[in-house]
């Protein structure tokens, strides 16, 4: 690989935001034709900044970029694309009612060679699609395609415009394990055809599976570039975090095992436009973590919001420790002992323009009220407790919660819910977007709650997380629970097949 032609050479790239933020500090980054490089680092390490500089979204403060041997600096992404650099973001940029071919032709001022009109373009799309095993029909409408297929359309879009260098930002976040395998298959073909690929990620097993080299960033600096085959996951984590991590989970055998939450024939309100799903039956016991695996958007949020009272149950019942709570309001369910850590901590879990103290009041404002007025000294004590116990890094409780980092904000939300000693804790995507250090802490707290006897319902799209924390694992697909597997029987292939829509009895041997 080392003697391949150098396609990209970024030298001493420095990027400052304002006077105080040094996002990239003299970064050197090379890329050769025909290789896959994983760009690894925690949030805020500077990965996105570096890629955005390459893609023309930011201008570097210092440093130079050579692409195909010519010194360049792109004013905007359009120029980068013209020169053969393409980027696929986590959110896809596709027009849903349009067909694949229409999406590909859209926005191209100069049509790629061989695509003089829609018909020849369709032909070209078929050719590229076959060559790389993308299996994309040029006449399919985007809205009819699965997430994995849409991602392949994005890849096709870049190839259609003759991209030589492809940047993929967290490409597997929305994919099932099977779809991930298919993506890696495509990437392999691209590699052997001489394309250069950068994968921005923090998932270790993917790094090991697909990349030739790993570039590890930490705190704005490039700490190491290693050949994947000569490294180990543990070493990469150490490079990325700067210390050894303990993600092992220490579970005690639960006592009691009484039923905490019981869902009987619970009919969840279907999303607008979606078809009705079969009713859900589920039993959650004290002292266990029941994981809900599934690709994002398969009804996990709807189910949990129904349990929490944010959505009305169409029929069926929800019982908390033998008491029916189906018709209680959210605040009554909270008072009855249900806590919820929502997936969108900035948009739902916290009032980001208010202080930490105000956010500790949220959800229990009644308890901090005397004669109609808020007792601020009580609230301050509660806020300081959450800050101390969960190590929220902040100057004080007056600090505006939205200015906390993602990890610290999640500690605040989780800490607030946990500090009310919930009987049932509903948690969704607890570590989405968090760095490894914060994940360690959040996982530890979830298990701590379980060990103390709380019943935890954990929905996550990260199989690793589900497998690490759960005692039992349910898989949801299109609003339906495909089956529940005990942890020791759960394997990635079984869960993956269920996530793709197969029933447990079809996949279990």
């Amino acid at each position: 690989m080392t003697n391949a032609i150098t396609l990209l050479r970024m030298q001493k790239i420095t990027k400052r935001f304002g006077a105080s933020v040094l996002a990239n500090d003299k970064i050197d980054f090379d890329l050769h034709a025909g290789e896959v490089v994983a760009l690894l680092g925690e949030n805020g390490a500077g990965k996105s900044t570096l890629m955005n500089i390459l893609y023309g979204l930011y201008e570097p403060t210092e440093g130079k970029i050579e692409f195909s041997g010519v010194q360049t600096s792109f004013r905007d992404p359009a120029q980068a694309i013209e020169h053969g650099i393409g980027m696929i973001h986590q959110e896809f940029m596709l027009v849903e009612p349009f067909t694949v071919a229409e999406n590909l032709l859209m926005g191209t001022t100069t049509l790629p060679a061989g695509a003089e009109n829609l018909n020849t373009a369709r032909q070209l799309i078929r050719e590229i699609s076959t060559e790389y095993g993308l299996q994309v029909d040029p006449d399919a409408r985007i809205e009819d395609l699965s997430v994995g297929q849409r991602q392949r359309v994005e890849i096709l879009k870049l190839l259609f415009r003759h991209a030589k260098l492809l940047i993929l930002d967290e490409p597997t976040a929305v994919l099932t394990p099977q779809e991930t395998d298919a993506l890696f298959e495509v990437l392999n073909r691209l590699r052997s055809n001489g394309h250069a690929i950068v994968i921005v990620t923090h998932k270790m097993h993917e790094v090991m599976a697909i990349s030739d080299r790993v570039a590890v960033m930490r705190a704005g600096q490039m700490v190491a570039t290693v050949n994947t085959s000569e490294s180990t996951e543990a070493e990469l984590v150490r490079l990325m975090v700067g210390r050894d991590l303990d993600l092992s989970v220490d579970r005690t055998e639960p006592k009691g095992r009484k039923r905490a939450l019981e869902l009987v024939q619970l009919q969840v309100e279907a999303r607008v436009g979606a078809k009705a799903t079969p009713p859900v039956a589920l039993v959650l016991r004290h002292g266990e973590v029941l994981g809900i695996a599934g690709v994002d958007g398969n009804g996990q949020t709807e189910l949990i919001e129904t349990i929490f009272g944010l959505k009305e149950a169409q029929s069926g019942s929800i019982t908390l420790e033998g008491r029916e709570i189906t018709n209680l309001t959210t605040v009554e369910r909270r008072a009855a002992g249900i806590g919820y850590v929502p997936p969108d901590r900035r948009g739902v879990g916290a009032l980001v323009t208010l202080s930490i103290e105000d956010n500790v009041i949220l959800g229990a404002s009644k308890e901090f009220t005397q004669f109609g007025l808020l007792n601020r000294s009580l609230a301050r004590i509660a806020a300081d407790n959450v800050i101390d116990r969960f190590g929220v890094k902040t100057p004080d409780a007056e600090f505006i919660s939205g200015n906390l980092s993602g990890g610290n904000l999640q500690k605040l939300v989780l800490g607030r819910e946990v500090s009310r000693d919930p009987k049932v804790l509903l948690i969704e995507q607890p570590t989405r977007g968090l760095d490894v250090g914060a994940i360690e802490l959040v996982w530890g707290e979830i298990i701590e709650q379980r060990n103390q006897g709380a019943a935890v319902l954990l929905a996550s799209t990260e199989l690793e997380e589900i497998l690490a924390l759960s005692d039992r694992i349910a898989v949801m697909f299109e609003g339906e629970i495909m089956g529940i597997v005990p942890r020791d029987k759960a394997t990635t292939p079984i869960l993956g097949a269920m996530m793709a829509g197969r029933q447990l009895d079809e996949v279990a041997v």
Partner: protein, 362 residues
């Protein structure tokens, strides 16, 4: 020389910087308006001297300023409650008129032969103010209900209901309630039903104290109470609020009632403190200017009170200037509007600074 805007590292929040920028905005607005004086060969200096002198430095004039500021303040406080709760209400004009109508209704009932004719005057005034506030609250509450229950467009409904209120008052003073005479207006209320003047030699009436008291109450509600916290949370992010167990719809209904009640009370106070009768053209935009004072006051109670007094002073001083210099009132209105726009523009300077760069000379 070129200039550009550069983002500040930390936004300016200190009271002094806000005062300084506001003064700057007023001065620039007056300077711009001064140009309009020139075709009349009038001196802007003298014009403004008479404006400020009359509005703020004569006892009688300052009294008028505070009288004008009274309903502006109350509408401004109502705006704070409604808007911070996420209910973008523009129907204060209607609420104010309906409140004035309700207040008058009670007063007319206290005239000879009316059902309240034997009631003590103080009690009649109290009933009148309460009834005005109630009707104002219901008027706004109806808009809130239509929005919350049926997803109606609050802006459109409120604006249309403003017209309804305006023409309802017109109808009453031209028809059923009209007193014999040339003007479309009701009978004048007897003096013992007027709100007392609180400073001799001025027209400042007790309604001003009601406005100040309402400001204190609203401040306590919004800044200190659970209801206020939940209203603010509902306005900031309804999804977070619902997640936190707050019943957003109920809080918004309450906010609509409080906001409309304040405007209705302001309307009744205007009847009992200023006009002493219901007449056409009674409000003339107070319900909208009050919203502007809340915006100028950056949605804070003291800020809104100060902005209301300044705006009241501009109106009173402008009228005086027109009388003394004979300049058309449109100039004064242009100066007023420019000052408001410039004050709103200073918001940018809190987060950005102006950088002047001179071309380098070699």
């Amino acid at each position: 020389m070129r200039f550009s805007l550069e983002k500040r590292d930390t936004p300016l929040v200190s009271g002094w910087s806000i005062v300084a920028m506001s003064v700057l905005a007023v001065l620039i607005g007056m300077a711009l308006g001064g140009i309009l004086f020139l075709p009349f060969e009038a001196s802007p200096w003298e014009g403004y001297q008479s404006l400020i002198g009359n509005a703020f430095f004569s006892k009688r004039g300052f009294g008028y300023t505070l009288v004008t500021a009274t309903p502006l303040m109350m509408v401004g406080f109502g705006t704070i409650v409604a808007w911070r709760c996420g209910f973008i209400f523009l129907g204060f004009e209607g609420c104010l008129l309906i409140g004035a109508m309700g207040g008058t209704m009670v007063g007319l009932g206290a005239l000879e032969g009316g059902i309240l004719s034997s009631t003590a005057p103080a009690l009649v005034i109290a009933i009148a103010l309460a009834w005005g506030a109630t009707l104002g609250a219901l008027w706004a509450g109806l808009v809130g209900e239509l929005k919350i229950r049926f997803g109606g467009n609050e802006v459109l409904i409120a604006l249309m209901m403003n017209f309804l209120a305006i023409y309802l008052v017109q109808y009453l003073v031209a028809g059923p309630w009209r007193v014999v005479g040339d003007m479309p207006q009701t009978e004048r209320l007897p003096k013992d039903l007027w709100l007392p003047y609180i400073v001799s030699g001025t027209r400042l009436h007790a309604g001003f104290l009601v406005a100040i008291a309402s400001g204190v109450v609203i401040w306590v509600v919004m800044a200190k109470s659970r209801a206020g916290f939940e209203m603010i949370a509902s306005g900031l992010n309804p999804r977070s609020a619902r997640y936190g167990g707050i019943q957003v719809a109920i809080r918004q209904r309450q906010a609509a009632l409080i906001a409309g009640g304040l405007a209705g009370l302001a309307g009744a106070i205007t009847i009992y403190g200023v006009h002493h009768r219901l007449l056409d053209g009674l409000s003339d935009g107070t319900g909208f200017v009050g919203i502007v004072t809340a915006l100028l006051g950056r949605m804070s109670i003291p800020g809104t009170a100060i902005a209301s007094v300044l705006y009241g002073g501009l109106s009173v001083g402008g009228d005086a200037m027109q009388r003394q210099t004979g300049l058309p009132s449109s100039i004064v209105l242009i100066v007023q509007a420019s000052i408001v726009l410039l004050l709103l523009a200073t918001e940018v300077l809190r987060t950005h600074r102006i950088v002047f760069s001179r071309k380098k000379k070699i």
